[in-house]
């Protein structure tokens, strides 16, 4: 295992110390592993809290700041944070206007956030709403399973809903918008290599030199299937087709994210974006905004994912609103 770390055990604490040192505009609660804005939540503003396992940076800590999250809880690598962390985050971020928990759909994340909401409402009376993001078309949506994973759409949702909260929308409106965004976006990912979880010390899966995994999530889980390495154009098709098969993206402007998994250089992401843009154009999808870069990663995995959001006018307006975080910044 080749990593710039001190020990597998200290990865999270050291990274949080680095975030603390690098960002005077953020505060870090090192005991509870909560990253929050140095400036307290404005009275009347709904607070947005997210969190999840670490290893997906800049998600979520890199999206704490004006126009996005108010606080983020960092779990161990690929392990959902615990309810007490979320409760601390809720406590520090709530201004009285209530809190929205943004949860990616994983059994662990959902259960821990559920417990946190139960505890917060029982103990402190904070109004907690939540949205569970489940946008990954690689996984079949079904009532009898854990359902679809939450992946790239989380980034777009945090941006758009963050802007709504910043604008002063109340908890009900912010929550409704969050569900609308979740219903309007889909993602699909692939991997060229496995990632290596520091504590495991070796790659999660073995992938021969001429093979790739299609339909991976963001935790180094094996994908839906494995096949021969192909060129960027074919890979783009394998990502875009299932998304378009799942939902109709024509007739409204779309926001597209071409996301890197952590080990993929930007030059490759632009090559992929080019292929994705061509496919969407051919399919009649009108892309009006885009992001190309590492936004929701899987440690050092080489690979990428595509997220498409069918945006209505409000979402588009909120997308363009100012945002000032370590990971996403414009208009300020």
């Amino acid at each position: 295992m080749k990593k710039l770390i001190n020990t597998p055990e200290s990865v999270l604490a050291d990274a949080l110390a680095g975030i603390d040192a690098a960002h005077p505009e953020l505060k870090v609660d090192h005991v509870n592993r909560v990253i929050y804005r140095a400036e307290p939540t404005r009275a009347g503003k709904v607070a947005l809290i997210s969190g999840g396992g670490s290893g997906h940076e800049p998600l979520h800590g890199g999206f704490v700041g004006f126009g996005m999250l108010d606080a983020a809880c960092a779990g161990e690598v690929f392990t959902s944070p615990t309810p007490d962390q979320m409760q601390e985050a809720t406590k520090v971020a709530d201004s009285g206007a209530g809190v929205l928990h943004i949860v990616k759909n994983y059994t662990g994340d959902v259960m821990n956030f559920e417990m946190a909401a139960e505890m917060a409402e029982a103990e402190t009376g904070v109004k907690v709403a939540s949205v569970v993001v489940n946008d990954d078309v690689a996984v079949q949506d079904s009532l009898f399973t854990a359902g679809r994973r939450g992946v790239g759409l989380t980034v777009l949702l945090e941006k758009i809903v963050g802007a709504a909260a910043e604008e002063g929308q109340d908890l009900a409106a912010v929550t409704a918008l969050a569900h609308r965004v979740n219903d309007s976006g889909r993602s699909m990912g692939m991997a060229l290599t496995s990632c290596t979880v520091p504590a495991a010390g070796k790659p999660t899966f073995d992938l021969p030199d001429d093979m790739m995994e299609i339909g991976v999530g963001i935790h180094g889980e094996p994908g839906r299937h494995r096949e021969k390495l192909a060129d960027a154009a074919s890979i783009a098709k394998q990502l875009v087709d299932p998304i378009l098969a799942d939902m109709d993206f024509t007739g409204s402007p779309a926001i597209v994210m071409m996301n890197g998994m952590g080990g993929t250089p930007q030059i490759e992401l632009y090559i992929m974006y080019n292929e994705v843009a061509k496919l969407l154009k051919a399919a009649g999808v009108e892309v009006v905004r885009n992001l190309v870069g590492d936004y929701i990663t899987s440690l050092d995995m080489a690979g990428c994912s595509v997220t498409i959001l069918k945006a209505d006018d409000e979402m588009l307006k909120l997308w363009d609103a100012p945002v000032n975080t370590a990971g996403l910044r414009w208009g300020v």
Binding site: E76, F78, G108, V139, F205, R224, H225
Partner: protein
């Protein structure tokens, strides 16, 4: 030197033995989780049980309910992931069910464990055959109850429960997962033993080791 009931000290010994077993099998648990999950079940269980052993060492409990609830809370607040709330709820509910006693007989311990399992189901909605820890715990408790009905003490019940848990765990191998992270793999989840069912089997192994020695 087997035991017919279980004392507070033995409950503590059980937890400490469970910590040792998950530590010993940490890489195996992580390997199982690498195949159909995210390669952290070993470190999750070790982190949680280390916290538990430290906690109960620092704050000696005087009754089963307090002990078990503190174990549950410690797991909830130190593990995260799926196993944190699930194992946490298991122990929390066990504590509530056990009450402020200092000793449990086979029936009482069985009832506490059953309440724990119900907590797991309430949290995680798992059913038999979903390829989760349920598939080790449920048959273990069925075997436990049957043995107790036949007059078994804690040691005897623990022994049959362990055998049933292990059988249940091995039986998860061919299953296609319907719950947890492994369900994302669909058909590809078949052919691998479930990590959570394996750590749950270690829980019964630890109990058996504790009460039969």
């Amino acid at each position: 030197m087997s035991t017919s009931t279980i004392s507070l000290d033995q409950l503590i010994a059980w937890l400490s033995r469970f910590r040792d077993l998950v530590t010993e099998k940490q890489s195996y648990l992580t390997e199982l989780d690498s195949a159909i999950g995210d390669a952290d079940h070993g470190s999750n269980m070790v982190r949680g049980m280390n916290a538990v052993v430290e906690k109960i060492g620092a704050e000696p409990a005087t009754a089963a309910d307090a002990l078990l609830k503190s174990v549950g809370m410690t797991l909830v607040t130190s593990v995260g992931g799926a196993s944190g709330p699930l194992y946490g709820t298991l122990f929390l509910r066990m504590g509530v069910n056990a009450g402020p006693v200092t000793e449990l007989d086979a029936a009482a311990l069985g009832a506490a464990l059953r309440a724990g399992l119900e907590g797991v189901v309430a949290r995680g909605k798992a059913e038999a055959g979903d390829k989760t820890m349920f598939d080790a715990i449920a048959p273990a408790l069925d075997a436990w109850d049957a043995a107790v009905a036949d007059g078994a003490d804690v040691a005897a019940a623990a022994s049959v429960a362990l055998a049933a848990a292990d059988k249940g765990r091995l039986a998860t191998e061919p299953l296609v997962a319907r719950k947890g992270r492994a369900s994302y793999l669909g058909e590809r989840s078949a052919g691998h033993i479930d990590p959570g069912a394996t750590s749950s089997t270690l829980l019964f192994q630890a109990l058996d080791d504790t009460v039969s020695s």
